[in-house]
Symmetry: D2
Subunit: 350 residues, 4 copies
Amino acid sequence: MADKEVYYSDYLQLDKILDAQQLESTKAGVRADDEMLFIIIHQAYELWFKQILFEVDIVGNIFAQQGINDNSPDLQISVHRLKRVATILKVLIHQIDILETMTPLDFLDFRNLLRPASGFQSIQFKILEARLGLKYEQRHGQQYYVSQLRPEDVEKVKNAEGKKPLSDMVNTWLERMPFFDNKKFWEGYKSISKENKSPYIFWNDYRWQYDHSLLEAEKGNMAHFDTLFLNEKDYPANRQFSQKANRSALFIMLYRDYPMLQQPFQLLSTLLDIDESLNLWRYRHMNMVHRMIGTRIGTGGSSGKDYLTATISKHSVFKEIAELTSYLIDRHHLPKLSSELENVLGYSRT
Amino acid sequence: MADKEVYYSDYLQLDKILDAQQLESTKAGVRADDEMLFIIIHQAYELWFKQILFEVDIVGNIFAQQGINDNSPDLQISVHRLKRVATILKVLIHQIDILETMTPLDFLDFRNLLRPASGFQSIQFKILEARLGLKYEQRHGQQYYVSQLRPEDVEKVKNAEGKKPLSDMVNTWLERMPFFDNKKFWEGYKSISKENKSPYIFWNDYRWQYDHSLLEAEKGNMAHFDTLFLNEKDYPANRQFSQKANRSALFIMLYRDYPMLQQPFQLLSTLLDIDESLNLWRYRHMNMVHRMIGTRIGTGGSSGKDYLTATISKHSVFKEIAELTSYLIDRHHLPKLSSELENVLGYSRT
Amino acid sequence: MADKEVYYSDYLQLDKILDAQQLESTKAGVRADDEMLFIIIHQAYELWFKQILFEVDIVGNIFAQQGINDNSPDLQISVHRLKRVATILKVLIHQIDILETMTPLDFLDFRNLLRPASGFQSIQFKILEARLGLKYEQRHGQQYYVSQLRPEDVEKVKNAEGKKPLSDMVNTWLERMPFFDNKKFWEGYKSISKENKSPYIFWNDYRWQYDHSLLEAEKGNMAHFDTLFLNEKDYPANRQFSQKANRSALFIMLYRDYPMLQQPFQLLSTLLDIDESLNLWRYRHMNMVHRMIGTRIGTGGSSGKDYLTATISKHSVFKEIAELTSYLIDRHHLPKLSSELENVLGYSRT
Amino acid sequence: MADKEVYYSDYLQLDKILDAQQLESTKAGVRADDEMLFIIIHQAYELWFKQILFEVDIVGNIFAQQGINDNSPDLQISVHRLKRVATILKVLIHQIDILETMTPLDFLDFRNLLRPASGFQSIQFKILEARLGLKYEQRHGQQYYVSQLRPEDVEKVKNAEGKKPLSDMVNTWLERMPFFDNKKFWEGYKSISKENKSPYIFWNDYRWQYDHSLLEAEKGNMAHFDTLFLNEKDYPANRQFSQKANRSALFIMLYRDYPMLQQPFQLLSTLLDIDESLNLWRYRHMNMVHRMIGTRIGTGGSSGKDYLTATISKHSVFKEIAELTSYLIDRHHLPKLSSELENVLGYSRT
């Protein structure tokens, strides 16, 4: 093996890669010069989806361990790999610029020949959503599973949905965090007075001073805090993250300046970046589809635009984490931690 | 004047530009290192809004002429300047990456000090929307005009809303186009048979073959075509573009391969690009706000996120043009033009 | 065929595409998690190179016609397709961001296993350079042809080098342009006085007023103008473009405001964009290689960095066109064209 | 103060910002519509340079402390701020796209009116280079200081050059690192055998097996290692970083998987990113200038292109760090650290 010389085109299997573009328009004897672009850009997307899945799996394997060893590079490797996913997604979003050079009229040259194929059939993308944490019940357009996908592909997606996703593993990891699960702490947090500038801590609409009816809305905000962080029995069953995990996540966001919380904070931030980028990809993709085919029905038989619009809001796996930012307070009013805890959160080299 | 030597910092008036950052946190005696970024990025946005307005005004002046002279560079200059606007908007969207390096906690360091200032008060942005064609009645959140803007600023926006916007001028220009306003042509267009593959021309859901109830939906599509292009008395009064303009716009999209229609097609495309980029800017901005402040009330007293979300769909000035793509048919079935018309649409150098 | 339903993964041949990643590290029993990225990014590049070649070939076929028909969409299609190439190149440049998430240490995990494969062996890229107009004699590192490429690959590159490239066809097209080849015009152009602000027309270093020795340099500039545009017998034999073509190109740049010259101007501009983007790709690639392997020898046995640096300057196919900008003068001093010529350059619909 | 309401345009001082564009062409009575763009883009650049300087100063103040406290967020704040600088630079590079929408002919409309102003006179950029670590002796075109800058501006740059720059502070910080300065370690490192695949450790040109003359080059590589890391008296005096700092930097790169070395590794990486982005900015800027004015003399009297080209290679402050990657070896062959040291490099929570 040491002596075998590697050759670029063999290594990359370019014979396969560059011989996988067969135009339906050519088969039909129609000239449609943009079909090549259509094929190649989708193949490029699928290649990158494979890479993203590969990275997410590595992170999943790390988090599937009994406990992440804080003394190992586990967490930083996870952050690094998720940041790479975020970087890839930025390029995939940019890539839509290329598809937008195809005008609607150019698409019509071959669009009918593709029926009923559609991007909805991208199994890798569905598996990615499942791996991140999207559950079958949360999916928009579940009914299409059966009508649009081949049985073996339905099987693949179901399989991915059956495994413990990254969001669950992150939930476990957050729950496991030792020092932050102190309800008394959160009771105190809730009652911090911000120098009398507002009657309630998370509220910053100064108009309450003139309009006392706004105080009711403020009370609602506090009740929501109780639900998310304190009252166990009221906690809704269908949430992605547990109350315990919420407390850890908020603690990490608030005290991320401590060295020990840097990587955890980076991890949460990067997961939110990924959610945001996936949504941006769906959003730009949806716009492009809209511009390309107007309000027509997509090749897959659904309105492509509506499907994409719906998934933007519904398929954000980590949105519960994102929404915790509503309960941050400013650094200058943060409760001081005990010196014991401070020590644990630093690099205690004594 | 010829002899006066120009100096970089004088020319750019850097004494003003670089001395216009006064931190509220400094005044309040609080350390908030990210406020500088917050100020500078908004100043950069406003500088670019000035440039965009400058370009849109040049285009407006060209279109305000009695008739655009097709033998002059008027149209290509307009396209060039609007393409520049699209390029600027791409950078402005990218610029949000910078603001996203400010974490929610960092923003809280100085957020309360800014009340009730908010991006809603960007007069240049509102003027830009008005110049492009957004009418007062179409605005989301009209009520804020009075409560949030100073009287002189309300005045400025009203002024801009009072002038003939670009969309109206484009409408006039489309209506003026001499050769395309032929209803018989469109009657014929509507009845083109696509080799029996679908019962109606704009429909391409092959499922009608199995599910005859879908034929009703198809009829609706044809009726909509009549409304948009043929039946004068049914035409809704509140549309941005007239029926006559619709016909020209669709004709341009269909026959853009003729040299004479290249620049008109580029013009329409670029206007759609601008709409799309403005929406993408609003979308990314909205996400950023959401991530920064959660579901809290914005510094301007409204929920910043909701305002931005609402404007994404409502403030698209050229969406009626975008939706005409629903009525394109593929190039191979396009009615052949008379050789007389073909001659006019080419460079007739005979 | 009409009845055959197309399925996404069949259409894209994902069985081939997604089964073409075989890690050398896996074969060698070493763990190197970044090799997957290394393979996939190069496959993505090769897919896009295929697309770029496809577009360049379409343009080549258009320009290979006896004469481009100005009354047809030939030129605008060419511009459109070349602009797409420029858009693709921007994404390919951005894509380097992804590879930069691989650290030098991560690359070392599998780097030795790839010897002697190297990006130098990308045949498609070499063919692209040849199609655009790079000649064998102009190539940096010709000697590697034999030592690094398989005979059948050398053959492919030689083949591409043997065909008439795009640059030659553009040269022919420029030479063919009817109205601009008027030497008297250029004699006059050369002698335009710019209101006595400089002694020579292309010179704008005001320091000549103080430093008379600079006048010599100015004279050199004028002599160069003569060589490029006027004196036939001094014209160097080894240039990519002819003197006649130079005149047309400069004329197009100067009088591009006329409708008839818009598409020709766009064509030249886009070719320069492509050159610039290819160089930027080489530049960023070179930096990335430098950062990844320092001053070591590349896997291909040469110093990858030096090869890339050298090609940046040497492989710019259209640089002669780019350099003509030295001989532009400002619009306000341009010689007025005859009304006869003006008519020809407009849309003469009389 | 609490009661004062902040207003958007006051807060951003838009009266100053939006009133700082005075066109020389307007003064001269010439129409040059692109001069507005030219002014605004340069003002946007200067705003961002101010922000970059602000961030670099914060980092400088952190590093100027007697010793960075590893138990504090000092290092992560520094990394965060430098990463923001890198993000800003990406947007500044992208921003060149906007300037490229100005064609050479459009620039000629007002170019002569700006003489002799030039980007060379950007004092903030020169101060930034100095703050990062560029010394006067390393500057390209020192002679222009006196001829092109006003005395008060020369003073400002000299002042910045007189202060301890970031590179020196990073050098001190690297030297201070306690555990890595062990020459015996590096002696051992140098002699690691890579399973007989190459005679010398840093060499990976397999051709030595066929071509024994290459062994000489390999020896040179080893001698260079000695100079950079081991032989004190041979160490060149004019280098930016000391031998001691080199050892720390290489150690950080090699053992960055340990939690304690994560932030140091991120710091070094980000400094290299900044260097690379500054160079890319210079490179794209240079290309743009070249395309805009050809080989003419810049408005500042020098050839703008040559100045920019020269600074690309010469003004990289951290290139010595970048070049250390030549001496990395792959992870699988890394010397194992003592368990004592391993403990120190982890989060030792015992």
